[in-house]
Symmetry: none
Subunit: 155 residues, 2 copies
DNA sequence: ACCAAAATCACCCGAAAGTATGAAGGATAA
DNA sequence: TTATCCTTCATACTTTCGGGTGATTTTGGT
């Protein structure tokens, strides 16, 4: 787009220059006035082409692009799911299985229900939940859920 | 400052133009070549002054600045965005005290901690929490918290 | 093949949570 | 005044949760 426009400008300039030169040549053949006052003629040519140069420059100069970043605040409702904080999970050393248990915990499931859902024994779920509590530095499952949601580890 | 610079540029341009014209006049007097190929001479003049014009324009014209506004989306999770659903509370028949217990429950507090916070006995908290579970139709405190948040009864 | 981490399970015990029932005092409205 | 609801508390019992310890298997990476 911009490239095309530039080419058009250059073409137009070339054409106009050629036309002018032809016109001058024709005038030169017709009248001999230029021989008398060649300096004035050259001065006129100089001025005309200076103006043309300026015009060309104005047309061709690519504008400096000033990128202005406008911060647009977007408020998110709870309905919009926020990204889970993968970094935090790794940082806390929470394993995949623990995360699954934590997720079901947050849904209000009991250890026994979680065990049934994950096809493991109740003891296994207890082991995982204990691990979660240690890693999240909490004492109860309610605290774990609260903190996990706050840290965007779940939901 | 800028005005001075511009004047200097214009002066320089004028001087160089004058010098060029004088030079040409001198050359014209010295040699007669120009008479033979005046069109080439004029073409050279045109090119030189075009370049000069371009140079002048580049020097004098303040750079075009195209401001491109980029909207950067900043996601803000509101801490207290949505109002609590008073209607739902009344509809479910949850009392003031029960709501207080529910609120502390959601903060991960144990029944004993809630009792201490509200200056009541552990048994009272248990009674309230039982009432909450019945009214919310849940079996566990984790479920109660989850449902209460979902219904916007708390937070 | 080997090592470390993860996942699995078991047992015990105490703490916390939850259920059921009853009861008493206070506020409020019919 | 009576009825109703809220709040408070208690006792007894069951269930669930959580801590501690130990052990085996699975898995992923060097």
């Amino acid at each position: 787009m911009q490239f095309n426009t530039k080419h058009k400008e250059i073409l137009l300039y070339g054409i106009s220059m050629a036309v002018l030169l032809l016109l001058l040549q024709w005038l030169e053949a017709r009248f001999i006035v230029f021989n008398y006052r060649l300096d004035i003629f050259i001065g006129a040519i100089a001025i005309i082409f200076t103006v043309l140069g300026v015009w060309l420059a104005l047309k061709l100069i690519k504008p400096k692009v000033e990128t202005r970043i406008v911060e647009k605040e977007i408020y998110i409702h709870q309905t919009t799911p926020t990204e889970i904080n993968q970094q935090e999970i790794e940082q806390l050393g929470i394993s995949k299985r623990e995360l699954e248990v934590l997720d079901l915990m947050a849904r209000g499931m009991s250890n026994e229900e979680i065990a049934a859902a994950l096809f493991v024994s109740l003891n296994t779920v207890k082991t995982h939940s204990s691990g979660i509590f240690v890693k999240l530095d909490v004492k109860r499952r309610t605290q774990a859920v609260e903190k996990a949601k706050r840290l965007r580890i779940i939901q």
